[in-house]
């Protein structure tokens, strides 16, 4: 009740300020009048009475101030006044204001953007009902597994999934899913969209409701379903069907099979994979229809699914995991692939299932980029720290300029708290405006980051909402920087003893020493921090350079990869090689094509096949069988990629089905399997699963080339000829080396393929672009750390320039005397530079120690150099020293050109 009255009266004071003030004036005047009348009654003259009453009263203004101080609204009001005053100060120094706000906006923006990404991929939960109940079911510490893998999350086989669904008890329901690509073009150039295989329980378990139509249910997902419906995402619906309601019931072509669209998911549902989205989902049972011969569903060694479940009420994750462990032996016994060799079988039967928190879904993006993002956040944090130090430096300079004013105000009775509040108001304004701009900036920055991580084949989607965590983070940053750059100067400025300051005339001589100390410490820490950032930037730049210039064993440029898929022609096994050969020869005939060859595995595409190699002709499998990487390539492959053939011959028309099996190996193979001798003429057998191949004779030796990844060490590779094997592919993956423009080449290839047959699915991608897309993380780290490093060095240079200029200004008199006594210009420059040298030396030493301690965390992100690489540190020190010298040379020269007479007269 009393609080309410207080509030009401306070608000009246705020909003009807004039009336309240008028009443107060009137009341005080009335008091004075009454006092005068009273005193005159006691016998004073009017003048005497007036004088006495005024003395008794004291200053009317001070009385009013005391009355105002009683009420809370006065605090609000002084705060408002302080802010207005601060704003006026900022308007007074537009350059300072712009520089301060801009540097903070950049710093806060960069931090917020990176945090926003981290928040989206790491901290946020899935957009489903009660995500905390969702758990992931997978094999605990599976390690190496045998079989064929597809999808980004090949956790389980279909057989294992069926067993888990039947035997688990801890979950009210479980589901399996796998990401894939669907070609929705009915023919011609391939149009891939993001597809998803889902078991019938998928949408029900997650609790996703349809936005339109209905979603898939267990009834849609039964063995051997031959006609089924597809569910599309809201964004696909909007892009592809303009969001029309008539989409339900329409037909969608998926890898040339017709699917009826039965429903649309709600707009916020992107699937269970953070960092990705899905366009089309179909039941697991449709997989054999879509993939045909390549189907994984019926294969006991086909890994392509990932499973999740919703915990039953009362069941904990541990409890459910224990139950899964208990049923593991039975499940793996029942699903053991019959063609596994004894070693593989033993390994397989030892698997144990486990349950893991699944509330934030699966994310390859998270596992790939979480560490780099935390690292970038740390770098951005350092930049913000340096920017804050710069601001603190500027504020300190202004604070010392206002020392006399502060002393004066304290002398006439202003409290220290009041002055600090006023000084802080300016900082709060700068931080507030900086943070506001930073948030705007962050939205764009994080979108740019995501866009730069996306590639055509690997589109990313991150739901970049600004939630309370992001806002809290930004507000925290703003508050922290405000304290960092505002509080210390404010405390400094008001810690003066008024008497001392007022006594001091003009600029001080010796007393500046201690006050100046803080600014030196700031500059030293700026130098140290920017050295850390510079080292980081150089490490990543050199790492990128190393990996981009690494000898891959082939030439990346000028190669177009085209995949011509003729599955739709339903050719028999016998007719496929001939058709494939026809396609290749048609491509070779295109004008401007230098050479072309097919390859089962495009190098650096990330695909691969490994088998055991048994040297000699002996049948007995050795225990220490070692594996090599395999690829099937047509004649001309090495010429196309320009991988030098060192000894022997390429494949040719002699190597067909029925002729002796031949192989070409690389140097690493020779080193590992032939003790470094020339392997040409030697024979070996290939063991995959239980089967052991016929002997292969090595006919050629080629230079080492990268296989799956530019970062890998050289590994043994065996090339064989596809013409010699059964089960030919239903597509021809052709690498084309040509100098013709890409667009012309693509249309030429299309028309030549159409001459062979008009109904083919064709995909194109330039080889070099694919390789560069594989270096995204390296380029991102190099670009961002380079940007942060440059920013840090500029900020540190500005800070150093400011401090040295200030120092020169303070020592004008001393410099003047020195010059008057005969010191030359060079001596003065040396004097000033010595000052820089000391600061630089301390800063660099601290920086090197800090960098050495922190760079270790980047070890896994570097290629071809260690985090304590001496050359990198030397370069960073050299760059920073040069810039520091330049930054202080300007004020040093100014000092050396002082007119000694003018300097001394000023004193």
């Amino acid at each position: 009740m009393s609080l309410l009255r207080n509030l009401a009266s306070g608000l009246r004071g705020l909003f009807r300020k004039e009336q309240v003030e008028r009443e107060m004036d009137e009341e005080l005047r009335g008091y004075l009048d009454a006092a005068v009348i009273e005193k005159m009654r006691q016998g004073m003259t009017r003048e005497e009475a007036l004088r006495a009453a005024h003395i008794e009263m004291g200053g009317a203004e001070s009385v009013k101030e005391q009355v105002r101080a009683v009420s809370w609204e006065s605090v609000v009001e002084t705060l408002w006044q302080d802010l207005k005053f601060g704003l006026r100060l900022l308007r007074f120094n537009p350059m300072f204001a712009a520089a301060a706000i801009l540097s903070l906006a950049l710093g806060i923006g960069a931090n917020t953007a990176i945090f926003q990404l981290l928040d989206a991929v790491r901290l946020r939960t899935l957009p489903v009902r009660n995500p905390e109940q969702i758990a992931k079911i997978t094999i605990d510490h599976r390690g190496g597994a045998s079989g064929s893998f597809s999808s980004r999350y090949p956790d389980l086989t279909y057989g294992q999934w069926e067993q888990i669904r039947a035997q688990q008890q801890g979950f009210s329901s479980v589901f399996a899913w796998g990401p894939t690509l669907f070609n929705i073009s009915p023919g011609g150039e391939v149009h891939n969209v993001q597809g998803m295989w889902v078991s019938g329980e998928f949408f029900q378990t997650l609790g996703v409701e349809p936005a339109l139509g209905r979603l898939l249910t267990p009834q849609d997902d039964h063995a051997n379903c031959n006609s089924t419906g597809a569910v599309i995402s809201s964004s696909f619906w909007k892009h592809q069907y303009a969001g029309e309601n008539s989409v339900i019931g329409r037909t969608l072509s998926i890898n040339r099979h017709a699917f009826e669209i039965i429903g649309v998911t709600p707009p916020n549902f992107y699937g269970v994979e953070v960092g990705r989205y899905f366009d089309v989902a179909v039941p697991l049972c449709a997989e054999p229809i879509i993939n045909g011969e390549d189907s994984h569903l019926g294969r006991p060694e086909g890994w392509w699914l990932s499973a999740m479940g919703r915990l039953k009420p009362g069941w904990t994750l541990d409890h459910a995991a224990t139950q899964l462990r208990a049923i593991s032996p039975g499940i793996f016994e029942a699903t053991l692939p019959p063609n596994f060799n004894p070693e593989q079988a033993k390994h397989y039967l030892g698997y144990k299932l486990g349950a893991f928190p699944g509330d934030s879904g699966s994310s390859e993006l998270r596992s790939n980029f979480e560490n780099p993002l935390w690292f970038l956040l740390a770098l951005a944090g350092l930049v913000l720290l340096i920017a804050s130090a710069n601001l603190a430096n500027l504020m300190l300079a202004r604070a010392s300029a206002r020392e006399r004013e502060m002393g004066m105000r304290m002398a006439v009775g202003a409290s220290r708290g009041r002055l600090i509040r006023q000084l802080l108001a300016e900082s709060v304004l700068i931080a507030g405006i900086g943070a506001g701009l930073g948030v705007l900036l962050a939205r764009n920055l994080s979108q740019i980051l995501i866009a730069s991580l996306s590639t055509q084949n690997d589109p990313l989607f991150v739901d970049l909402g600004t939630d309370w965590r992001v806002l809290g983070f930004t507000a925290g940053l703003a508050g922290l920087t405000c304290i960092l750059f505002g509080l210390a100067p404010a405390l400094r400025a008001t810690s003066v003893a008024p008497g001392v300051v007022l006594k001091e005339s003009g600029r001080g001589t010796t007393k500046g020493r201690s006050r100046f100390g803080l600014r030196r410490i700031l500059v030293v820490s700026q130098i140290a921090l920017s050295l850390v950032l510079l080292v980081g930037a150089l490490l990543f730049a050199r790492s990128l350079n190393n990996i981009a210039t690494v000898d891959a064993g082939f030439r990346q440029d000028g190669i177009l990869v085209t995949d011509i898929d003729f599955t739709s022609l339903n050719l028999s096994n016998e007719r496929r090689p001939a058709f494939s050969a026809e396609l290749l020869s048609r491509v070779r005939a295109i004008p401007g094509v230098d050479s072309a060859a097919t390859a089962a595995i495009v190098p650096l595409s990330g695909n691969g096949a490994n088998h055991d190699v048994l040297m000699g002709t002996s049948d007995a499998p050795k225990d220490d069988a070692q594996t090599a990487a395999f690829n099937r390539v047509s004649p001309g492959f090495f010429k196309t990629l320009q991988t030098p053939l060192l000894v022997g011959r390429d494949f040719d028309e002699r190597d067909v089905k029925g002729s002796p099996h031949v192989a070409i190996v690389n140097e690493e193979f020779a080193r590992k399997f032939a003790n470094g001798k020339n392997p040409v003429g030697m024979t070996f057998r290939i063991r995959s699963l239980r089967t052991i191949s016929a002997p292969h004779e090595i006919v050629g030796l080629v230079k080492n080339a990268k296989y799956a990844d530019l970062r890998e060490d050289a590994q043994p590779i065996v090339y064989t000829s596809p013409a010699q094997y059964d089960h030919p592919d239903t597509d021809a993956q052709i690498l084309i080396r040509s100098t013709a423009p890409l667009a012309t080449l693509i249309s030429e290839v299309k028309s030549s393929a159409n001459q062979a047959h008009s109904d083919l699915d064709i995909t194109f991608f330039p080889f070099q672009k694919m390789v560069q897309d594989g270096l995204l993380q390296d380029r991102l780290m190099a670009a961002l750390s380079g940007f942060f490093g440059a920013l840090a060095v500029v900020l540190a240079a500005i800070g150093l320039y400011g401090v040295i200029s200030y120092m020169v200004e303070r020592r004008r008199a001393e410099i003047g005397i020195r010059m008057a006594l005969g010191a030359g210009q060079q001596a003065i420059v040396r004097l000033v530079l010595r000052e820089t040298g000391v600061l630089l030396l301390i800063g660099l030493t601290a920086g090197v120690v800090l960098a050495l301690a922190s760079a270790r965390t980047a070890t896994s992100m570097l290629f071809g150099l260690k985090p304590n690489d001496v050359l990198t540190y030397a370069m960073a020190v050299a760059v920073l020293s040069t810039i520091a010298a330049l930054a202080s040379f300007v004020p040093a020269r100014r000092a050396s050109r002082l007119d000694p007479m003018a300097a001394l007269r000023n004193e």
């Binding site: 009740m1 009393s2 009255r5 207080n6 009266s9 009443e23 107060m24 009137e26 009341e27 005080l28 009335g30 008091y31 009048d33 009454a34 006092a35 009348i37 009273e38 003395i55 008794e56 009263m57 004291g58 001070s62 009385v63 005391q66 009355v67 101080a69 009683v70 009420s71």
Partner: protein, 111 residues
Amino acid sequence: MADKSSGLVQGTLDMLILKTLELEPMHGYGIAMRIEQISQGVFQVNPGSLFPAFRRLERAGWLASEWRATENNRRAKYYVLTAQGRKQLKGETREWAKQTAAIARILEAES
């Protein structure tokens, strides 16, 4: 002129104001005079303490105010004791009596 009101125990001024207003509503100067007269000049209250106290007591809900004409036919702000203020005064008086009695006992015991 020495400000004797500053010698007042913290919070006592509030009690004196409430007490002064117990009989009838009064304006600021009247209250100051009344306190001075009744205390026989021991307490002289200056405006610098008096007016903040009015504001404080009003905010607490113990005083209300209204503008009225004075005996000299001028407009002045009159302060009125509210029901809540009356209760507060009773409580404070009782407390004060208890404390002074206790202090008196201690002082007598020592001498």
